[in-house]
Symmetry: C2
Subunit: 163 residues, 2 copies
Amino acid sequence: MIRKGLVPEDVSPMIEIVRATGFFRAEEVAIAVELMEQNLAQGALRTGYHFMRAFGPDGSLAGFACYGPIAGTEGSFDLYWIAVHPLSQGQGLGRLLVETAAEEAIRSGGRLLYAETSSQPLYEPTRAFYGRNGFREIAKLPGFYRPGDDKIVYARDLIAKPS
Amino acid sequence: MIRKGLVPEDVSPMIEIVRATGFFRAEEVAIAVELMEQNLAQGALRTGYHFMRAFGPDGSLAGFACYGPIAGTEGSFDLYWIAVHPLSQGQGLGRLLVETAAEEAIRSGGRLLYAETSSQPLYEPTRAFYGRNGFREIAKLPGFYRPGDDKIVYARDLIAKPS
């Protein structure tokens, strides 16, 4: 089940999910905390960061996503964050988060939903996830994160039917 | 001549330069104002936005640039803004701004300096400027800004000799 928005008591479990995935470095976790605090203080509309939470069958928080419009564009949205706890993966929660973010973006005039990740072997599951959820690899920035670690940019067309 | 940093009395002339170029939409001008105010309130190190100003032979402010490290990367920097007043173009101030930003980035461990612009005909001079100042086109994001208006991503290698 998806619940839109963010409530203070879910911040700690969300950070725990981010840590448990093993996909995010300490600096990235710190950015996530900052985004959540900004969102709680100022609201999604003012910050441009829209959170949603995914709950497992037992009602516990199992994942979340954060998306928003990209400033200076007409209809381009970024899927800034998506994370599902390792113990809750394989149940379709990631797909549900992506589909909900895509629907919400479309409702706000979205044409394209972007996501980005690293070329490193660790992120092979992440890249496969985007591939089977309607995203195409559209660009590669060699050495972006660090030498030998490229940024891969994915886009999902929100106007065509999702694949 | 280049002066590093930002002083309150230069903000109005800088906004005037941005407007005079004709390259920036009202929304982008608003973003520039916000960046400058953040920088003045919190300083370059805390915000990650480093400004520098270029002065013409008569001592008047003629252009500026803003660059900074990209969060989550090791040694990738972004040239967020560069603008020279139309009446002061063709005097090498743009090149001086790029070279100074590149030197400063290298001093802070920079490996790559990124810049981005639009594929629209209006920005042909901008793209040519990057091309003759050591940047290579490394990626294109179709329809990023709006339908038919792609984002072109440029990178300059700060470790190899500039071309």
